[in-house]
């Protein structure tokens, strides 16, 4: 399928979840290994970053879309769901309401991510907030299981679990036959535009 062996598969993944659960903090910790709560503002629309990572001896390029959590942006952000291979669905371990909304996010993903399967990992964020946890681990895992997702708890502040969360997601993409075959992705696009642009393949390669 790929003539050029140096061509790295590109995986479009998303960060979704309620407002202020810490999606951008996880995103920045992962991409830049950087955390500064003092400079975090609410994400407007969608932010984009790209990063090459190696999982199971395979290099992949992650195109990560960090979406705004507020309801009003939903019609915009959901347009980015199309052709996504995976999503981290983030909630705040210290705010129960953000956990209760997880089924809604699963539904959104299923509705808008076109007909292909999407690999998902439920991410409990702000693990470092000692004493304010209101969602326990087994509860979180049960919710993830029920929706066929992986589960991990992270702290963008300390960095704990952040890389693992993305690795888990990539692993789940690779384990999904509808998404991944013979070391390559079956569908890929970075864009919110039509799938037909994707077939040229080389368009998004490089740096």
């Amino acid at each position: 399928m790929r003539a050029d062996t140096h061509d790295i598969p590109t995986l479009k993944v998303l960060l979704v979840g309620n407002s202020n659960v810490g999606k951008t903090a996880i995103f920045e910790r992962f991409v830049d290994d950087f955390y500064d709560p003092e400079t975090t503002t609410a994400t407007i629309g969608v932010d984009f970053r790209s990063k090459i990572v190696e999982v199971r001896d395979t290099k992949v390029k992650l195109n990560i879309w960090d979406t705004a959590g507020q309801e009003r942006f939903r019609s915009l952000t959901s347009s980015y769901f199309r052709n996504a291979l995976g999503a981290l669905i983030v909630f705040d371990l210290s705010v129960y309401e953000t956990f209760e909304q997880l089924p809604l996010w699963f539904r959104e993903l299923r509705t808008y991510s076109s007909d292909q399967q999407v690999a998902t990992v439920v991410v409990g964020a702000k693990l470092d907030k000692v004493g304010s946890r209101v969602v326990n681990r087994s509860e979180g895992m049960a919710m993830a299981d029920k929706n066929g997702a992986g589960y991990i708890e992270v702290s963008a502040k300390t960095g704990v679990g952040v890389v693992e969360a993305f690795e888990m997601l990539i692993g789940r993409i690779m384990d999904t036959p509808a998404l991944w075959k013979d070391g390559d992705v079956l569908a890929r696009t970075d864009s919110v535009v039509a799938v037909d642009q994707v077939e040229e393949g080389t368009r998004y390669c490089g740096c």
């Binding site: 407002s19 003092e38 975090t40 503002t41 609410a42 984009f48 507020q70 535009v193 740096c207």
Partner: protein
């Protein structure tokens, strides 16, 4: 050691400054945060009339070793302030003339007076000004009291609260409790009065230039961004808060379908920006298209936050002098041309980039340190594109 000698300006220059009405470079030694006199009667209701307040004697000092260029710049500044002053002192402010003058920038000292007039918050008739402003402020206080009576919509309040906490996280003023509480009330009242849109993230940013400008009238030349309004009398905070609310409301009224379901106003602007870019810089437009970059991916935020996320607040304030001078279409139309001018500015760089690099570059542009000069150049370029293409567009519509 570092203190340089100061001397008074020659008499004739000082006379000019008297006429200029604004305490241009005065340094008050008073440590109590009383309102700066030129605006006291305007912003808080007193018996003095506005014109009399504008006669206030400015104090002006200049460095002994100031260069000819520095003195020249200062004189030009005074000349401008003088022209503003003359317009503002008229029984009825000539709005057209004020717009024409303010387009190229309003002296910081006069913004708290000029902006409300440009926005229609303060009437142009001097005689009506004090009573109108007093009535509108009362209306705001009553609105707040009513909105908060018997509990509030907790979902709306919660969203506003978490966003106010992360509004301009690097500026001290916005970390102060007094500021945060005021912004919460402003945004909450606006949200519940506009249920078809409600509070949308980004509107919090849009309130801040007003808050900062109106507050600056009372900071005694201290840097408003480092100011703690807690030290001010409550009556003054209330006035700043009420005026911010009304001016924000006026601005948002010109962007009526930006924040409703589906955000059609923003979608339309993004399409217009794409069309405009195709005409201004065909090469860039086709490069973006070829790379699979869609305008919505980078310019949604430009529209939703009026470029406030790309610039520092001071730059935004300078931009808004011009936007407000454009009348009711400043934020809806002229902004489009500013965005186009802004995008094509990076054309050379963008043409070398692929999809990923383009998006990452456009999402964190090197503009945080832009100066007033950079902003003014951008505004001039936008004006040029508007002159070239605005009529053209009309022709197409016919």
């Amino acid at each position: 050691m570092g203190a340089r000698d100061k001397r008074r300006l020659p008499v004739q220059q000082e006379m000019q400054m008297l006429a200029a009405a604004a305490p241009l470079i005065s340094r008050s030694s008073s440590s109590t945060p009383t309102p700066r006199s030129a605006f006291a009667s305007y912003l808080v209701d007193t018996d003095d009339d506005w014109a009399a307040a504008l006669e206030d004697t400015p104090r002006c000092q200049i460095d002994v070793d100031a260069t000819a260029a520095e003195i020249g710049a200062l004189t030009a500044q005074i000349g401008r302030a003088d022209r503003f002053s003359r317009l503002l002192k008229a029984p009825t402010v000539d709005l057209q003339a004020l717009r024409a003058l303010a387009w190229s920038g309003v002296p910081p000292e006069l913004r708290p007076v000029v902006w409300p007039v440009l926005l229609g918050h303060a009437p142009t008739e001097t005689a009506k000004r004090t009573s109108t402003l007093a009535a509108r402020r009362q209306e705001y206080y009553a609105g707040i009291a009513q909105a908060l009576r018997g509990g509030c919509d907790s979902a709306v309040w919660h969203q506003i609260h978490i966003d106010v906490l992360r509004t301009h996280p690097t500026i001290a003023l916005y970390q102060k409790e007094t500021t945060k509480r005021a912004l919460e009330r402003i945004l909450y009242l606006w949200a519940i009065r506009h249920p078809e849109s409600g509070y949308v993230q980004g509107i919090n940013d849009l309130a801040t230039p007003f808050f900062q400008v109106f507050l600056s009238a009372y900071t005694n030349d201290a840097d408003v961004q480092h100011f703690d309004p807690a030290g001010l009398p409550k009556g003054i905070i209330d006035v700043v808060e009420a005026d911010t609310f009304w001016c924000l409301s006026s601005l948002l009224a010109t962007l009526s379908d930006h924040y409703i379901h589906g955000q059609p106003g923003i979608q339309r602007q993004i399409t217009s920006l794409r069309d405009l870019t195709r005409r201004i810089d065909t090469r860039l437009a086709s490069h973006l298209e070829h790379q699979g970059v869609e305008f919505i991916q980078f310019s949604f935020r430009w529209m939703n936050c009026l470029l406030m996320r790309e610039f520092n607040v001071r730059s935004t304030i300078r931009m808004w002098d011009t936007y407000l001078s454009e009348g009711s279409t400043g934020f809806s139309q002229f902004h489009l041309y500013v965005c186009a001018a802004f995008l094509v500015k990076w054309s050379k760089k963008l043409l070398q980039m692929d999809f990923q690099s383009i998006l990452m570059f456009l999402q964190s542009l090197p503009t945080k340190s832009w100066t007033e000069k950079d902003i003014e150049l951008l505004l001039s370029e936008a004006f040029m594109w508007q002159s070239l293409y605005a009529d053209d567009k009309l022709m197409k519509c016919r």
